[in-house]
Each structure stands twice: as structure tokens, then as C-alpha cells.
Symmetry: D2
Subunit: 254 residues, 4 copies
């Protein structure tokens, strides 16, 4: 049976491109996202058109049992999950404390922290039994430092990072490679940045900083590093690294 | 009206001692804890016997509206909250991932992260209006790095730390001093460490490392630094610091 | 004999004010600085006029044996050094790599890193013998992160911070309290910031951000925290903390 | 002309293996080490036997002008230095403060910090002119935290890390990719670990933790990540990452 790369949060940015990268080298990619069935079908079709193998599922990660059932179903019916890519963000834009509702704060935690906990709780038993597995966690600048109007995002991402370290502490020696990947800059991704900015501002930003300027992180290039990380020899594993455009400032310099 | 020092999580350890320290210098201390009405009365009586002013309330911080109502009630009926000490921990002992229930993980977040968010949401409007205030947050080693069997605790505390930085970013310039105080070691506290270890093991530890050895953090001494922090001049505020016994190793050395 | 507080780097900013603060509570302050004998005399006279006890010495910290002999002389002729304040900076302004000479880079290390190593090597044997002592190290943002045109400063301060942690690891349990104090902002200090900016720009900055705005760190207020740190109970010592003006951004937010 | 990968510190561990890895993909590898001309010849011969292209030079990095002349000579006579691997360590084993001579402390800085500064000062002008280049810096746990009896090593490596961040801040946007690679564990390297432990203890460690156990970092596997880093697309560069054996604890957990 083909090894599976399960991507939770598979839009046209990092998630979809990582799925495609792993499919190119023989993995069956399982793409999950909350909405946009059409977009999901397009991503899956694109991978299969390139000769890869993929499936797509709608999945609402904040709903009870959604992740758990998807993991169980993939393991039972598709193949062993060798790689999980947890790629759900929890950015809700800038909000003052007064404008951050309890509901929004809780939702951030459910997406960014609790969802990863549930994912790990679901896949680790399978991976431990097989003595191997990889959990690649997309993370954000807010995991490293809080900032103005980032109450929800920073609390959720800070929790995510400490959870990654705790998972690593328990599972690394049992063959499960957990990586906290700090995406420290804007990604050229229509489904996230594009939606946040709106089509015009997004296109303008691409023309000014992205495209041939390479000033926005290119998802297909990010995917190369995800793939490398999942194939590091177990004598030389990375747990934390950052990724940003060459022309951008790291979080500690701005 | 006397300025109020509101302590959320006031047992016989850090919380009770910080309350007493502030009461000694003219604050009215409001002590809140979830259970043990008897212990609460004893703490309040101890403060008043020393000539201080204090009140005590049972408060279940994970219950909706509990913190919000207490803050409103104190502001309306007791006095302006100049200092809040958020002293609720979320340590549940060592638990493997398999032994960490979804409920336990969520409860950790409700105590350590969401409770602080609710507290800040409740007191900050009052403090902003007055142009001053102090939020002292007791934190733990787990806020700095994840560890084996600390999934719930580390995720909750990591979130707490990033929330403190975000609160600081929004409110520092408006006169609210937020401090993340890393208690990096075992505290000589009967209501927390004492209960976790049981009376015999706790007494043994005190005799071996605590008492005149000063190898356990002494709550009354911790309280001196809390008091100092709340009275730093606004041109020279501390946002993060660590506290540990001289004979103990810092988190980065073990 | 009076306990001594030895200040290496005692200008009219942090160093001089810390000396004065300790002298106010019974220490004999020994002030050392490289140049400006007149200024040194003024500082010493100011302390003695207030009823304190102080001496002043010119000391070129990059010269071999200068620190070593001063420490030996103080211990032999003045009193036991209970507190050392290592307050030498190594800021040389912004310099590109091309404009940072080997000599400047080495000098930064000699001032910021090697000078502290020599100081610790000189005082620790005395402090170990007495089973107590405090080493307060003024540090800078550059100890936490490198930055553009800060090659020399950041390398020197990064080395200083790791040295502080190493000193703490060896000497804390033997009663020597080492503190790395991150001064994360501009200090209202005529001898350092004032000289770097020139008198007019400095006065302008004071009027815009300092003085009653409290937006520049006030040395006399910083000194209160230095004093508190040196008097923390050994069951609750701080090793690292930051200090900045309430209206300023922490290093991780700019 | 072939692009050059210049390795400063090329023994039979990380340095030699990284040289070999780059040579495999078309770089001319220039191997530099302080001593053991025989070993150097063996490394170069091994690379050329595999069809790669390489040269070897003895180089004493603490000697004035040694690095500068080597860089100038390679640029003039061999080819453009596209990649520099700065692989000199400064570990001198555990030494108390009393046992760390001024000379040893200074030598640590000359090897670990100043040597990198000189290297960067020498190669950056060439790389800036070409608008591209990569500087891969091998670093150690001591760059992240000080520790007992690591005064010299930690101070030198802490300086190195802050220097890497400063170089990145100035040169990243000009196309020079600087990476700080934290080797957070023991490397299966005869020329460093082997010499420190002696042949018998080293072989015992290999049998217990290394070899098929993969519990020591395998240099040839480390080299894969070095190669990947040097070929990341400039829209997605890593500046800091860690590498350790799956069965080992990260620095923040011990």
C-alpha cells in the first residue's frame, strides 16, 4: 500500500503544494480543507494529472470527531499515514483586546492548538506501532512572540509551539519526527493572504514584492523544505526552523 | 478608597503571600480561590490580624462569568483594582499523550490561558480609564519549553506567555504594566506542591531541600519581588523575569 | 568593614546612579571609569555629600591587569566586594561589515565579554570564600538578537549573555548571584547616549520622549531594580530580566 | 569555472562530509584544516576518487591573514566561492572558571567568533558583487545557553550566533544566505569527538549509541541538510535550525 501524506488545511498555498510535492515522490496525498469543494477537486485533479495519487475531503477541524474519523478512515481504507502536515492557521487579522470576543479567542485555540493535539492523539498510536512517522506543523511568527492585536493568534500559536516540543519529547525516540516550521513572512497564497487582502491588493502586493521579486514565500518552494525534513535521516533530525523570503526581515528584527 | 490587589488563585503559597505583602503596604487584598473556604478565611484573618485589609471569595475560574462578576463587584463595591495577580496554575502532573484526555487538555487551557484572557478583558477597561494598573502573571517553566508528559501544561502556559506579550504590546503605553513571572522551580507551598506530593513526601522534601536550605522557593520571598515589580517606575518596567532557588538549575540547564 | 559595591563603568548614567543607590543603604561604592577624572570626582562628591561613602578610580578595562589590580586593591584596602556592577557597554554606533575594522570588533569583545570574564575571574574566588556575592551585569538588546550594522556589538553582547549563564551555572549554588539585566531601550544618560547624539539632539530627545514623559529609562529608577536584585532572598533569585520604558516597544516587537 | 564550496574546518566529520556532498553535485571543494596533512590528502583523494573535484590546504584560522589569503587565493585561482562552510569549533572540554585561562578564553573567541567575522569580511564583498552566496555556519548547543564549565565555549558560540543574525540582517536582502546550524548532540566524528574521548571510549560510544542505533549524528547525513539549505529558493530561506539524533534530548530538555 502507498504511504499516505495527510494534509490538514489544504488550500492553494502551502497545504496544496506540499501535498503535490509528496505525491510526486510516491505518496498518496490526502487533502483536507473546511470549505470550497470545487477548489479541493481542482487540487486533487492537478495532482492526478501530473501522475500523482490523491484524494480530497472536506473537514471542519473544530467539529468534534472530524479529525479523528478522517484519520481512522484513511488508516483503514487508504493506507498508513507516514506524514501528517498540520497546516491550519488561526490568523483572524488585527483585533484589539476589546474587539477579540471570547468566542474568537476560543476558536483560535481550537484551530491552532487543540486541533493539533487531536491530530497527534489520533495518528501517534499508529505511528508508534510502526516505529516511524512524521508530523510537520506549519507555524507562524506569533508562535515566537506576542504582538499588538494578536491576542488570539499569539496565544494559540504559542500553545502550538510548546505542544510540538512536548510531542517531540515523548515521541522522537520512538521514531516520530515532529517539526515546528516557522513561516516568518507573507506567503504567496490566494486562499489565505489573497482572501485576507482581497484580489486587487493581493495582486498589487504580488507585483511589488512577489513574483520575480521572490519577496513573498512561494508555496512550491516551501514544499521542497517540507519534503526534505520528512526525509532527514533519523540521526540528524530538525525540530525547529524558520523560513522567510531573502528580502524580508526576520521576526527579531522588526 | 484603598487601592485593591486582586489575587486570583490565593492559596497558602504564592497567592496568599503576595496578598499579604500588598496588604502590608496599604492595599486592600481580595483573595479568590476555588475551594477550601476554611483556608481562605484563615488567610484573610491572618492579614487582618497583622493590621492589613482583606476580603476572600470562592471563585471557580473555569465557570463562565465567574471572573467577570468578581471584577465588576470589586470595582463597584470595594475599590479600584490597581494590581491583579493571576496565579492559577494548570499543572496536572506528568501524563503521556495517551493519558491526556481532551477534557484535561481543554481544562488546562481554560485555567492557564483563557482565564487570563478573561481577566485582562475584565480589568483592562478600568485600568485604561485610570491610565494605570499592574497585571502580575505567575508562570511556569512549561511556558518556555515543552517537555515529556507536559502536553496540556506546556500548551496552556506557552499560550499564556504569548498572551502576556500581546497584552503588553497593546497596553504598556497606556500605563498598564504586565509582567510574566517565571517561577522556575519547586515552591514551598502546602496547597499546591504539598497536595501533589502528599504530606509525608512534601515534609521530606522540605527537610532535604527547603527550610533553612532555601532550596525551595519561599512564597513570602517571592512576594517581595512581586511587590517590587508593581512599584517599578514606568520609565523602567520589567516584562519578563525568572525566579528560582540559588541551588537549583535553570530550565536551560536541565 | 563596610561591604563594597564595585561599579565598573561608572558614568553619570546607570553606573553612577547604582553606586549612589547602594551607598545610600550602607555600601561603600567604588566607582571606576576610563576617563573624565573631573566627572568621577563629581560623582564621588555627590555621594559623600548625601552622607554616603565612596571612592573613585580611573580604570581602562581593556588594559591587561587593570581590573585584576583594582579588585585586589579594593579587597585588600577598602572592604569585601559584595556586589559588582559590570556596566561597560560596547556600542560603537551603526557600522556596516565593511566599516567594522578587525580592531573595532576585537575591542567590542574586550570591553563587553572578556572584561566581564576577567572581572568574574578576579572576584569569584573572594565571593566563593565568603559564600556570597552578587554580580549585576548591564546588558543590551544586542545580547538577544543580532541586527544590521551591529556586528561588533551583537557578537560581544551575545557572548556576554552566554557567559552570564555559564557563571550562574557554576556559582549560583555556591552563593553567588549573577544577573543579566537587559536594558532594552534608550537611557537618559549624558555620558553615553548624550555623547553619542551630541548635546542638542540629546536635549531634543529628552524633551520629546524623556523627562516627564518617562519614555527614556531613568538611571535612578533603574538603580532601584539593581538594588532589589542584589537583595533578593537566595530562595528566589532572578537570573534574567528586561527593563524598558512603558511607552517603548520590546525588542521582539520592532 | 566551477563554483567553489570552501570548507574551513574540514576533518573526517561534518566538514569533510559536507565537502564531499557538494563535490558530488558539481562544486569544487576546497578543504582547509589546521593540522594533519595526511588526513587532508586522504579526504581530497576520496572526493576525487568518486569523480569529484577538490583541493586541500593547511590553514591556521587564528593566525592573522590566514583566512584572508586563502579566500583571495581561491577566488583568484580556483573559482568563485559560492558556498562557505564555517565549521571550526571551540570546544575545549569542561573547565571551571579557575581552570579557564585568559589565553584559552581568548582562543575560543578567535576560533569561534572572530574567525567567522574575518571569513565573512573576506567573502562577502565577492558575494555581494555576484549578488549571491551562502554561508553555512556549524554551531553548537553552547550558542543557545551557557552551562557549567563552558565559559569559553558558550561565550564564543553565543557571540557567533549573534554575529550570524547580524550578517543575515545586512546581507540577506543582497542575496547572501547565512545559516546558523545548531548541532545539538554528539557527532560520530573521529577527528573531534574521537580525539576528545580517545579511541576506546569513542568506539564504545559508537557501539552503544552510534552505528545502527543512529544515536550519534552521522556526518554524511548532516551533509544532506547542509546541501539542501544551500539550495533553498531565495523566497524561502532558513536562517536557524537544529539537528540532533532522534533518540537524543534537545537542549531545552536536559
Amino acid at each position: 500500500m502507498q504511504p499516505v501524506c495527510l494534509v490538514i488545511g489544504a488550500g492553494a498555498g502551502i497545504g496544496g503544494n506540499v501535498a503535490r510535492r509528496f505525491a510526486r515522490d510516491g505518496y498518496h496525498a490526502v487533502l483536507c480543507r473546511r470549505t470550497d469543494e470545487e477548489g479541493l477537486k481542482t487540487l486533487v485533479a492537478g495532482i492526478t494529472a501530473d501522475g500523482g495519487s490523491a484524494s480530497g475531503f472536506l473537514l471542519n477541524a473544530v467539529e468534534p470527531d472530524s479529525i479523528e474519523q478522517r484519520v481512522a478512515d484513511v488508516e483503514a481504507n487508504i493506507g498508513p499515514i507516514e506524514v501528517v502536515v498540520y497546516n491550519l492557521g488561526a490568523q483572524i487579522g488585527n483585533r484589539t483586546l476589546a474587539d477579540t470576543s471570547y468566542k474568537a479567542f476560543e476558536r483560535g485555540w481550537r484551530m491552532a492548538t487543540f486541533g493539533l493535539f487531536r491530530t497527534a492523539s489520533s495518528v501517534c498510536p499508529h505511528m508508534v506501532e510502526r516505529g516511524k512517522g512524521t508530523i510537520l506543523v506549519t507555524s507562524a511568527t506569533a508562535a515566537m512572540r506576542g504582538n499588538k492585536e494578536q491576542h488570539s493568534h499569539a496565544a494559540a500559536m504559542g500553545g502550538r509551539r510548546m505542544l510540538c516540543q512536548s510531542l517531540n519529547a515523548e515521541f522522537s525516540a520512538r521514531g516520530i519526527h515532529v517539526v515546528h516550521i516557522l513561516i516568518d513572512g507573507a506567503v504567496d497564497a490566494p486562499d489565505t493572504l489573497g482572501k485576507m487582502l482581497g484580489p486587487e491588493a493581493f495582486q498589487k502586493l504580488r507585483e511589488e514584492r512577489g513574483l520575480e521579486h521572490d519577496g513573498l514565500l512561494v508555496p512550491a518552494k516551501i514544499a521542497e523544505t517540507y519534503f526534505h525534513l520528512a526525509h532527514q535521516h533519523r540521526s540528524a533530525w530538525t525540530h525547529e526552523l524558520d523560513l522567510r523570503a531573502f528580502s524580508d526581515l526576520p521576526w527579531w528584527n522588526h
